[in-house]
Amino acid sequence: MKRNTLLLSLGPLLRKKEWFVYYLLVVMTLIFSALLHDSGFFSSANFINIMRQTAPVMVMALGLSFALSVRHIDVSIGAVVALSAVVCGLLLREVHMIFAILGALSVGLFAGVINGLLIEYLKTSSLLVTLGTMSIMIGIARSISGLESIPITNEHFIMLFGSELFMGIPTSLYWVAILALVAWLIVHCLTLGRHLLAVGKSPENALQLTISPVKVRMLALVMCSLFAAFAGLLYAARMQSARYALGEFDLLNVFIAVAIGSTQLVGNQMRVIGVICGALLIGLLNNGLILLGFTINTQLIVKGLVLVMVITLVHKELNNAK
């Protein structure tokens, strides 16, 4: 009898959309652990490695969810990562680390403001505008880096953002934790979070409540690019070099992370923990597939399938999107 009621109460719990990402995380860990029990998948060293690799994706995914929550799609984040890393690498040669960091972050700020101005004041599609700015920024990154990778030798910088262990955990993860906390506070404790939701749900209603949708959406786009620029710093420090191609393949990873981690892709309150777990899931998938001996070609196919699957299974609301 008791067992029966337990099962009954588990039923609706299992059907809860917002838990999807956590089940998937557990299931995937179990599957890979079983398949790879002799190649060291289920070891703390490997998990730290996975976290280290996915830290930039986590940060980018957090940023992207800001944009998505107000119904904008920003595909320029990959380019922001590359440009901010390259700018940071170049500046580290010349000036103090602080200015290099500020320089990289101002790339994000600038990109966000430009994207926002173009989208909001010309009232154009966010997808197309950011596609354009993406191309522009990749072009700039390629030309100022001279197509070469810029080695980063500043030890302080590498220690601060890189994958050095601090109390057993890579430093980049502390940054992820800090940025996740910032995102969480914005969503749950600050006025901006409420306004993001109001504008995402109904811009007209927001306007009626004297919330300016234009201002809020601009801020969301700036947050998105700033987070991407920060991901650029993490990348540069982990690779100990800055290349124009950094973040090239991450757009797919980031979109999968957000799609898995959220219950509704656009116009909803962002789920910080869900998105982080979504990114972690992608990290596990990448790592597991590599350890299983699949090539990057297969990985791309599998990840593409995952994205399509998640979109059709979880995000049915997109079917009747206008």
């Binding site: 404790c189 600050l190 006025t191 901006l192 409420r194 306004h195 939701l197 109001a198 749900k201 109904s202 007209e204 209603n205 927001a206 306007l207 009626q208 409540l209 004297t210 919330i211 909803n268 309150q269």
Partner: protein
């Protein structure tokens, strides 16, 4: 002298016109309302009711005409202007966000922050104060909410409407524009709504009620203005008229009672 006459009313709308897509949707609409008066805005679909609501709440900018309130004469060009004039709208969908709780919805767009300078700049919400004020505002309308932390999507239509009305009143609305307030409600909830409207009108709040629900209108309203093809065709006491006659005005019969005629004459003279 003109402004003196206009200032006697809680709100006067004068010569309001609005064209949309080349067609005139509102044509020289003028009316006044006293403090605590409940006025029905009637008319068929496409008569210009919702455009009137949008103009009054600043969602559309008016082409010509102006609003007089407390000897202040101005045009409403944005929702902020409407708010400054003390005009608040309670829309059909109540303007609430399902995923937020009662308190957050209540203060949406007017969040309160902590006094601390840094927290204020960040926009850190003072949730306790907002919760307290929400509870008090709802109590004033004679209703108690058991749980202010409940998400709005779990509330009934009547409860949602109460929140929307309480919100408008709490932030000092002197004129509340309600768009089809009874359409989503059940019988008992309509009775409750009538009670709420009477309560706020007794507190001196003017209510403009856009509605198709004739029994409801004749129950709570003092006066009705009727729009037909963008023109104001009637401005009448509800008590002095039958439902059938109201319908005939909506069909296009024209009747404007004295006070506003004299107003129009004054306007033309000035």
């Amino acid at each position: 002298m003109l402004s003196d006459i206009l200032a006697q009313h809680a709100i006067s709308v004068t010569g309001l016109s609005k064209s949309l897509n080349g067609g005139k949707v509102l044509d020289d609409v003028s009316f006044s309302a006293n403090e605590g008066e409940v006025i029905a805005v009637l008319g068929h679909n496409g008569a210009g009711k919702s455009t009137l609501v949008k103009c009054l709440t600043g969602m559309l900018t008016m082409d010509s005409g102006y609003i007089v309130r407390q000897s202040q004469t101005m045009q409403i060009l944005s929702p902020l202007d409407a708010r400054k004039l003390g005009i608040e709208a309670v829309h059909q969908n109540f303007g609430l966000i399902d995923e937020l709780d009662v308190v957050s919805n209540f203060f949406l767009g007017r969040e309160l922050h902590h006094d601390n300078l840094i927290l204020k700049i960040l926009g850190w919400l003072d949730k306790r104060l907002m919760r307290f004020l929400t509870g008090r505002a709802l109590e004033r309308l004679g209703c108690e909410f058991r749980d202010l932390d409940r998400l709005v999507k779990h509330l009934s239509a009547g409860e949602r409407q109460l929140i929307a009305v309480a919100r408008a009143i709490h932030f000092g609305a002197q004129v509340v524009v309600m768009d089809e307030p009874s359409s989503a409600l059940g019988m008992s909830q309509v009775a409750q709504l009538q009670e709420v409207i009477r309560t706020i009108s007794a507190q001196g709040v003017t209510v403009l009620l856009v509605s198709h629900d004739m029994p409801f209108v004749s129950e709570v309203c003092d006066r009705a203005i009727v729009l037909s093809k963008g023109r104001l065709v009637a401005n009448i006491d509800i008590a002095s008229i039958s439902e059938g006659e109201l319908y005939s005005y909506m069909m296009g019969r024209c009747h404007i009672k004295e006070p506003d005629n004299s107003l129009n004459a004054l306007l033309q003279a000035s």
